[in-house]
Symmetry: C2
Subunit: 210 residues, 2 copies
């Protein structure tokens, strides 16, 4: 079936939200950990992180204006530091529950039963239960005039991961790590390795990397 | 294990590329279809698309400067139209092979054995084999000064999808559609539904949506 711009325009708001959020494809499901300048910790599940570059190592994050009261965005802008924590199938309900509208002084970590930890002298909180986690420093913030969302670009400062999922060539096997993905506003999926393929060159067909 | 900013800095370039590209999480694997103003069709696999908003329906795309000769970027900027086509497990080799450096006048569709089709009066080419595909119109282009990448924001004009994967509430079940994801520069994965969860509210735990 074909859905055009007018059809999308006429969709009921919640229907359109589910539809557009799920039609693009799989997205990383990540818990964003921050502290306010008063030291209140905040945790929020997001699926809008994207790769911007490897050198320097940069990650983008879209934060919607409707996510009032926007504790995560305010904390990132105020402190300059945040963490991105992978989610495992065992605690997707807890991760999802962080999107409920807790007041600023209520800690989502405690409310949903996840534990907070700190690594080295990094100032933002990590999720103890996450097996892969990244610590980021804010580098750029853009307001996208087109729909009033915020785009945050952060530089990776610190990564914690199990040694066994890091290959000799630098590849991190997040399928073996059982990191989950999101495919919409409320849908969580497991990922299952198909294969890795050799670097694409003219005149030869990609081969599976064993 | 913990990897810090200095460790990343000292990684060999290709190792770092694989590492940073695979550590964030699953990304949508999409074939980007464009035409040049001369009518030459181009097709390139990318995993840097991300959701920007549902109303208006917006999708972002990061295009790296190193992807010379950048046919896709040039075509999008010149014509204003492009398509994003889901990939199925049956043709991941063909999709991956589009990243080889074909000259501008060689059509990747033919070179890799995928078929081109047009929908309604939409000017950019779709992939016949793709079961879900989006037609986009360029709305904004940003050059990210931080690493010289381009960010394209497009508005969805047209979506083709099988009626059976569209739920009554607007949810598109891309796991049931067998749309694949990418987890790095060369790694393709299947996605497998875990569960959908009810809207998160204070004082109640999320329930599985049947």
């Amino acid at each position: 079936m074909i859905i055009n711009r007018d059809d999308i325009e006429q969709m009921e708001q919640r229907y359109r939200g589910l539809f557009i959020n799920s039609v693009l494809g799989a997205k990383p499901a990540l818990l964003v950990g921050t502290n306010s300048i008063n030291g209140d910790s905040n945790l929020a599940v997001m699926s809008s992180a994207f790769h911007v570059g490897a050198n320097p190592p940069l990650v983008g994050l879209i934060i919607r204006p409707s996510e009032s009261p926007r504790h995560t965005l305010n904390n990132i802008l105020a402190t300059g530091y945040y963490t991105l924590n992978h989610v495992s199938p065992q605690y997707i309900e807890a991760a999802h529950q962080t999107s409920a509208r807790y007041p600023a002084d209520q800690c989502e970590f405690e409310a949903v039963g996840l534990s907070k930890k700190y690594l080295h002298d990094f100032s933002a909180p990590f999720v103890e239960q996450s097996t892969i986690a990244l610590g980021l420093k804010l580098r750029e913030e853009h307001r996208l005039a087109i729909n009033n969302t915020h785009m945050i670009i952060g530089e990776i400062q610190l990564i914690e991961l199990p040694a066994k999922v890091l290959g000799d060539d630098g590849f991190v096997d997040i399928a073996a790590n059982d990191s989950i993905a999101a495919t919409g506003l409320d849908s969580y999926v497991r990922i299952q390795a198909l294969r890795r393929l050799s670097y694409a060159k003219l005149g030869q067909w990609p081969k599976a990397i064993e």
